[in-house]
């Protein structure tokens, strides 16, 4: 049970331990050195392991991409062949195509990536604020070179909104899914973003823009091919959900939980204000947390247990305050 010598060693010897459960919490001087040496080696080995693992990951990702490309090529050949045949026997070919799972996959993958050439055209409407490509500079908005894989609000020298910086600190990073959600409705992801843009409602346009932008990012593997972690690519809200009329009394009770952290006078030090928030933006934002598109763990947890009716009730209560 007791190690009396140990207590003294650590008190007098001064090399207190803060280490490994295997040793319990008591240190002895001679052990300290051993522990220090072992810790050092362990951490070196862990570093090497991490480095190796990273390489292995890259290799796997590379291989996966290679495979996909090969498959896409094969399918494209098949399709071309099918199209040729279709010219001769249209009906049969059409049925075949629909029932061919590989062909289906490629169609959706193509949607995921979009067409960079078309994307360049759609991007024209962004160009008044954003530059991309060689020599691109920050304008009203940051330049978009290397946007894939970057933390939100993290590009040095650009003056981001507080909300964008906060989202970045919370862990929001730009990948295909998050960029797609942001392009669809910027405020759903970052409430008070300075990006004054209503959003691109057409999923195809967004996919095209992302395919275009991706050419200017060094690490296109950051784009998940068909995100296996299944992050919802955008805040999916049925129109009925937005139309629920909230119960303000219930909303008032539920809101008391928000007020523990969000200040009622609307100040936003450390934690954003939630007063004077347009109802629909509020609802969309809460669902974005619930669907874990917005990153903050406390808000994800709070939103995850709110039903559609409860979110509507909160929105109705906050709306009538104004």
């Amino acid at each position: 049970m007791t190690n009396t010598f140990g207590i003294f060693a650590s008190v007098l010897g001064g090399s207190g331990l803060v280490l490994g459960l295997a040793y319990g919490w008591m240190s002895r001087d001679y052990r300290d050195q051993e522990i220090a040496a072992l810790t050092e080696r362990l951490s070196q080995m862990e570093d090497s392991r991490a480095a190796l693992a990273a390489k292995a990951d890259q290799a796997v990702a590379f291989e996966a991409r290679l495979e996909d490309l090969e498959q896409a090529l094969a399918t494209a050949r098949d399709e071309a062949e099918a199209a040729r045949q279709a010219a001769a026997a249209p009906e049969v070919a059409a049925t075949e195509r629909v029932s061919d799972p590989v062909a289906e996959d490629v169609t959706s993958a193509r949607l995921d990536f979009g067409d960079p050439a078309k994307g360049a055209e759609v991007f024209a409407q962004c160009q008044s604020c954003h530059q991309v490509g060689q020599g691109a500079e920050d304008r009203i908005g940051p330049h978009l070179n290397g946007i894939f894989g970057r933390r939100a609000g993290a590009h040095d020298g650009f003056n981001y909104s507080d909300d964008m910086q906060m989202m970045g600190a919370d862990g929001l990073a730009w990948n295909r899914d998050t960029l797609d959600a942001y392009l669809e409705n910027p405020k759903a992801l970052v409430s008070r973003t300075r990006m004054n843009f209503a959003g691109l409602k057409d999923a195809g346009d967004r996919a095209d823009i992302l395919a275009y932008l991706r050419q200017f990012s060094a690490s296109p593997q950051d784009i998940p091919e068909a995100a296996p972690t299944a992050q919802a690519p955008e805040v999916e809200l049925a129109p009925e959900v937005l139309e629920i009329v909230g119960d303000t009394d219930y909303g008032e009770y539920l809101s008391s939980e928000c007020k523990t952290c969000h200040q009622q006078d609307g100040s936003d030090q450390g934690i954003p204000a939630i007063t004077h928030w347009p109802t629909e933006d509020f609802v969309v934002a809460m669902h974005a947390y619930k669907q874990e598109i917005r990153p903050h763990p406390v808000m994800q947890m709070m939103a995850s247990r709110l039903s559609d009716e409860e979110i509507a009730a909160l929105a109705a209560y906050f709306a009538q305050l104004e």
Partner: protein, 422 residues
Amino acid sequence: MKLNRRVFVGTGMAAATTLSAPMIHAASHGKPKVVVVGGGAGGATAARYIAKDSQGEIDVTLVEPSRSYYTCFFSNLYIGGFRELDSIEHSYGTLASDYGINVVHDWATGVDRDAKTVSLAGGASVPYDRLVLSPGIDFVEGAVAGWDLSAQNAMPHAYKGGSQTELLKAQVEAMPEGGTYVMVAPPNPYRCPPGPYERISMVAHVLKASNPTAKIIIADPKENFSKQGLFEEGWQKYYPGMITRIGPDFGGGNVTVDPAAMSVDIDGELIQADVVNVIPAQKAGMICDAAGLTDGNWAPVSGHTMQSRMDENIHILGDSTNQGDMPKSGFSANSQAKVAAMAVRGALTGSRVFPAKFSNTCWSLIDTDDGVKVGATYEATDEKIAKVDGFVSQTGEDAALRQATYEESIGWYEGITSDMFG
């Protein structure tokens, strides 16, 4: 009703209101009466919500001996030099002036549950229709051999806010070069599970700058503690070699202190110390026991309404309760207060009552701009308050996230204190 003028002092502008309007009102109009004992995280929130949401339909009296409430939350940051003392001091003025709450600065000494009255040390007896108790904690007698409340000036607990916190900070700053700080950590359950370890971090932060050869020893009766991995990671990173924790395997639970000699005996080894921070085992605030509402050290309650399992006219909140899965924290007490306020209003005025929802998040600061957090949501079952979902900060998070977490805690502090005191 006996009214002792002396005790109705209120604060600031409150005094006039307190003496005239609301009490007389209550007597003449027969409004339902709620008495809240304890003006801390649970009690102040409950009093404010009942008064605010009933819009004058309920007469609310808050009994609290102190004129100033010093939060325990952020008291460690004060010790670490990150907050000024007056930034964690709050008064009851707004509760009285803006919410019409009768603030009575006195101790509740007993509850007559049949007559439904609370007796005060000043001699008054205050009637209630519903009573809310949120008296925080008291210490289990004899929990640490050699220590009792008379030793709290030599060996402070600093586990109730205010002067104890000041004393401990002064003692840390006066430590001789290379001196020794010993913490006697409490067994479960106790107020603020990460509190002792955040305190260690803050003391280490101070000593690292002013007294880097000083030593910190924790005698701990618990195998594990809250956010352990995060604290250990931080201690190794910022304060290597300074902190020694002696767990139960090495006798950390077998401690005798000698306040006169300033020594601590840990499982037979005598340590001469310069500061001894004794945080004894805890129990419900004494008034709970006096009212016959405890079972063992704590007061059992139903999670649906926070009603005492022993008396449906009494709601108990915060640290004093045995409710289930929620940790004893200011956030929890505040969350429970809102459920109780809704239930009390429902019972007295027929307002709507919704299913109880609870939540908690505890932030801790490890070093400058390095904050971590742990949190969960809860719901009421017939048996207890049961955890639904939770999260905890991860080791190895980057500096930006840790800084954002710390800044978030500052926002939370402003939020919860204005939610308590208006």
